[in-house]
């Protein structure tokens, strides 16, 4: 199954803004960040279909996952 993934800020570098990620057995956001080689510490905001999501929630076909890195400077 392929899932649409929206990436923000630095996570776009070498990956793009909006990409399709193919998952085999495990349909979770954790499997997506593993596939994209994104460290868990770099996931500050995780949204599934525009709502707060969890890394281990099982995704349904058509779900859109958005991932934002931490921004903390001042």
């Amino acid at each position: 199954m392929e899932f649409k993934v929206r990436l923000f800020a630095t996570l776009r570098i070498d990956r793009g803004r909006e990409i399709m990620v193919k998952l085999d057995d495990e349909w979770t956001a954790r499997a997506i960040i593993d596939e994209l080689d994104i460290a868990e510490k770099d996931v500050a905001i995780l949204m599934i279909n525009g709502r707060d999501g969890l890394l281990d929630t099982t995704l349904k076909p058509g779900d859109v996952v958005s991932i934002f890195p931490p921004v903390g400077g001042g």
Binding site: A44, F68, P70, V71, G72
Partner: protein, 224 residues
């Protein structure tokens, strides 16, 4: 007052008078804080408290409005006070040369109408949010990293930071990206605009929402 003539007609006389009666606490006097203090002072807020235990160093010169070559080694909060005395001497300005901690947060924030986050630490932001919420004070949140920035308005009772910092601590990507001259100015402007709207009770604020700014790709998106 002639000083505030150009605030009109964007602000009504009643709104200008409201701002003169407000007390604003700005926590952090670095990249964001320097611009925020400047704008809050120039628009005509009556009382400002500026909080920062740090001193200026050479790496601050690329972006911090209050930092000049003459200010290296000098305290950031005191420097803010000296500058505002030249810009708008009618403001009652308090400089607090301390870092915000769990121990001092309540005494520092108490009595203010609004607090504006200009910190550079995620854990300190959680202290700010918790204390402001407990005291019933709205908080304007802002953060930057390189080309990127984000702003929100956090009303008392909200634990919004938990939604945008899953891990609650550490540094963001600014540790690798650094911060240039322009993103602090932009994020500071949006924070001040939010603060003014909260103080005058007009307009739409980012309550429960997050403005994400990506200047590299010209993306401005409100999420949640």
């Amino acid at each position: 007052m002639i000083r505030y003539l150009k605030n009109k007609n964007m602000l009504s006389q009643e709104e200008c008078d409201m701002l003169l009666g407000k007390s604003v606490c700005i926590v952090g006097c670095g990249g964001l804080g320097g611009y925020i203090i400047e704008m809050i002072g120039r628009i005509g807020v009556g009382k400002i408290t500026a909080v920062d235990g740090d001193v200026f160093d050479l790496t601050n010169l690329n972006r911090q409005l209050l930092c000049t070559e003459q200010h290296i080694g000098l305290g950031k909060a005191e420097t803010a006070k000296e500058r505002m005395a030249k810009v708008n001497s009618e403001i009652e300005f308090t400089a607090i040369s301390e870092y915000l901690t769990e121990e001092n947060a309540e005494s520092i924030l108490c009595g203010h109408d609004i607090v504006i986050d200009a910190l550079d630490s995620i854990s300190a932001r959680f202290i700010l949010q918790e204390t402001a919420s407990r005291l019933g004070i709205p908080m304007i949140y802002g953060a930057i990293a390189g080309w990127y920035g984000q702003v929100s308005t956090i009303m008392p009772g909200s634990n919004f930071l938990s939604r945008i910092y899953r891990l609650h601590e550490g540094k963001g990507h600014e540790a690798e990206l650094g911060n240039p001259s322009f993103s602090p100015a932009l994020v500071a402007s949006v924070e001040v605009s939010e603060a003014v709207k909260v103080m005058i009770g007009r307009g739409e604020v980012l309550d429960g929402k997050l403005l994400m700014i990506d200047l590299l790709n010209n993306d401005f998106e409100v999420i949640f």
